[in-house]
Chain length 318, copies 4
């Protein structure tokens, strides 16, 4: 495809949710997730097994400095070695360790907030980008607005297992709507996707990077959603979606000279919450083993006020 601008314009016009939940809305597709969905989701806890879907936050992550994104730098303010040596000046044998972190908010497992991406200077719900995200952060749709909302039914679509070799899709593989439906069909009834669901798409790339390293840059070639899935993402009325890749959509993108065109449609126009760099491997193993691809999922972002994205430790319970 050679004209991303046109394709984006057409998709945005067709699938826009602007105004759907009122002019003041800051939640976008999270509006689809209601108490009723939570009640149904909690009923999916049958065996009581829990899975963290977060990657570890450390220097082994995928960031290589692009646009000033580094891996998290974790340093200690106090240590056990100091405590043991008696350096700390506390009374009665008390010793402590303490630490700090400096990190991009989207360095590892994370949610994109609705202020993360703009289309021609417009943010979610038609607002001017400059009215929303200034140097002081997102003053309207900051990630803290989603702090208590993202808990409901999760569905794993293990595209890597359904469509790939050895459970992995190759880099550059564009997952189309047909592929998603094929995955659902292959997995069976527990992976039906509907209103208010939180959909997790596993490509298997993370398993590969774990084995082979991230290479020169995580934003390089990767499997991911095709631009053409915008309609499916809209029509299914899902509340949110996450992948095990750096960038959610296929890399390189499907247009010449493009940068994340699907983001440009689904974040500002659909108001869709996107998760990236989730670790779905252990959950996928379990789902493959018991044939159940739905579960209770809690994934509240750390509410950094005004953030346009934030770390999250998503917990799936089956």
């Amino acid at each position: 495809m050679t004209d991303p601008a046109d394709a984006i314009r057409a998709a945005a016009a067709r699938y826009s949710n602007w105004g759907r939940w009122g002019d003041d809305d800051v939640h976008g597709t999270l509006n689809f997730l209601t108490p009723r969905h939570r009640i149904n989701g909690a009923a999916l806890v049958r065996r009581g097994v829990a899975f963290s879907l977060a990657q570890r936050f450390d220097m082994d992550g995928p960031q290589r400095g692009w646009r000033r994104r580094t891996n998290p730098v974790h340093t200690m303010l106090d240590t056990g070695v100091d405590a043991e040596r008696g350096n700390q000046g506390f009374p009665h044998g008390f010793g402590g360790a303490d630490d700090v972190v400096a990190m991009p908010l989207q360095c590892s497992t994370q949610w994109d907030g609705l202020g993360h991406i703009f289309d021609h200077g417009k943010a979610w719900n038609g607002r001017a980008a400059g009215d929303v995200v200034t140097s002081e952060g997102d003053r309207v749709t900051g990630i803290e607005t989603a702090a208590g909302l993202i808990a409901g039914r999760g569905v794993l679509l293990d595209a890597g297992r359904a469509l790939g070799d050895d459970g992995e899709l190759p880099d550059g593989f564009a997952i189309t709507t047909a592929h998603l439906e094929q995955t659902i069909a292959a997995q069976g009834a527990t992976s039906a996707v509907g209103t208010g669901d939180i959909v997790l798409v596993r490509t298997g790339q993370l398993a590969r990077t774990r084995r082979e390293g991230w290479g020169s840059y995580a934003g390089g070639p990767a499997p991911g959603l095709s631009f053409g899935t915008a309609g499916w993402l809209h029509d299914t009325e899902i509340a949110a979606i996450a992948t095990d890749t750096w960038g959610f959509e296929v890399r390189p993108n499907e247009f010449d000279d493009a940068f994340q065109p699907l983001h440009q449609v689904v974040i500002p126009h659909l108001g869709l919450y996107i998760g990236e760099m989730w670790d779905l491997d252990a959950l996928a193993e379990d789902c493959a083993a018991d044939g159940v691809h739905e579960f209770w999922l809690t994934a509240g972002p750390i509410p950094v006020t005004g953030a346009v994205g934030a770390p999250v430790n998503p917990i799936a319970v089956k």
Copy 2:
């Protein structure tokens, strides 16, 4: 009380869990929380209402520089203002915002890891503190070891409401075992505490700081657990406990010249997970209204590798 060293020694000896889950254990009291407890916990979702128990992470927090702890500094790498002005160099009208944070891992709503506190150079399970937490972080019991475990039944003990005026305990109020039991009795059957539970003790201090500001330092006077609750914390076999205060235990501490003596017993000796600065106010309102003080609680820390504490966005669902 004037001899914290003796009191700590006696409590540590009496309530130690060292070896209880094997020499290699890194989970401490989280071992009490089993799949069975998760199944029971999830069954508490009846109305589908969710509550984030995280404070906002921003410059309005309680840190004032003590021991190099600041409030989180959130800065933007890209903004909507830039996107709108066309400064960013992306193709086809794409615009983005991105951000970073620098923060102490225990600056706001958080879990203490088992490597956070030592007693006379000993860490959880009897390990030498210097073998556990070096300048590279906690190499044994880092917070990432708890990433997928903390999801189960939560119980709110609203001591502020049960014992205080207008829902708040005064600063310096030591919550004793009798107070905890009195709170449970006042609240009724849904607040019974037992093995594997995650107990949330609300003092009301956070509501006060919200109204009056944090003052010169959050480590100042505050209500909190009495040193004497160590036995209750041990005998109930709870998996974890959290408060709405900076420091969990009463401030000033109950001994002359002491520093967090209850920490010194319950972290290294019980292996107890402690949460601090949780925002329990909205949940407490709801519990007071419907009389149900138990709920499904998910509270996985952000798994910063080797961290001795970490931010968490705990989600309670009723």
Copy 3:
């Protein structure tokens, strides 16, 4: 004075240096400092005594979180305690310590860059502020452009000693042009100020904060230059000026409802380099003792690319 907007407009019109050094100029008043001035400046080294004019960079500094400015947070990546204990994994008895810092670039002794302040959306030399400083930093007049320029003749005007009690001006004291001239006269011939000089104005406030602490905020009341000195700053053709205070000009400012009006004239319109929070006390003692108020001064900012201000360790040698 009640109309800062008018006063700023008039001063800007009268003292503007826009275009003086060409349309492409990025150096502003540093253009006044030529090799000839350096040759003369070096001749002032007579006794070989050197003075660092930098405050210490640590948590005892003046920042209290205003506009996300904290004191510098310095943390260790490796320590001597670890090295001694043999935790580090290096061969042949090698041990190391290493460290990081997170800090506002203007948290302590610093230069304001020319991109630091704007007047009605205009930056130095008439450029649009949005063309100069984006989220990627100052792309035109970043502090790195001054990296090798600031070395020349320094002159200390010890207004605290000349005009104050016990060497200190009271907070709120506005230093006028007459005061500057009075100080020069009192100090004698070595403090004549002319083209290309780097002028250091000591108020004595730092000595006071050292004794009494910074209080609730360093941006509070302080002695400093009067708005009326804009003409002197322009006509003397000095290359740069620095004070021992947080904000260079008098605080509170001399207009109702104003914020740093002198900055608004001298940075964007004169192109003047301003230093703040310099520690002039030891140098001032020496100057008072030997009666010589001129010296060789080197004060190159740390060249953080695109920074609008930067830390500096100015070294005066007499």
Copy 4:
């Protein structure tokens, strides 16, 4: 060479300066630099031309995450774009830009402090490493102790030009004492090295990395001083030395399984100040052109309290 431990032991014994300046000394070889040397150094200013010897501090630097060292992350708190758009809330048309940085203190042009390296748990002057550098930083020889000292005569030894092809030594080239003497001889009388001098050794590697990039890691192969220069470094009584490379000494090191053995001798035993990643190229061009290799050099580190190394913007004036 196969036994670094023995070689280090022998060199340390032979060249130790422990006790030379008293038991309490914290300045090491900076003691050699006296007021007399400053007077002589300032006399070298003849043409008034100044050179910053600092690399730019930005994401293009050499750090790739080894031991948690990243390049500096510079972010904006306020921008000109915001000011122009009127987002900032200041009165009378005032606008501002402000910024922060998070960086390892040794990420770019820098001084190693005396607490940076230990030999078998011993720091400079024979102190126990654990008594010197804890998690709170270097409590004895922190870089702030050198804040006002490093101003004197600088000498450039352009080994790259004297010994290499096209002004560059190849990676892995060990510069021996003979090479240093050969360079001095080739350059002529202005490069004689003696007591109190600050010696700058240019290898030319920086010019190469500027042309070809830093590659996978700056700690990789590089020209640098041979282990055998320890005697020369001691006997010349120089005050400090700096190179244009990441690690001062030749990489790979000259022993099997070694890590920076020359550091292990000269920092803790000689008390020698070492500068790394200095940009000597422009100065070297000038020295080659006029044949004068001596100059007035000011290089005070940013005095981060307790730091074991710190950024510096060294200024040479000829």
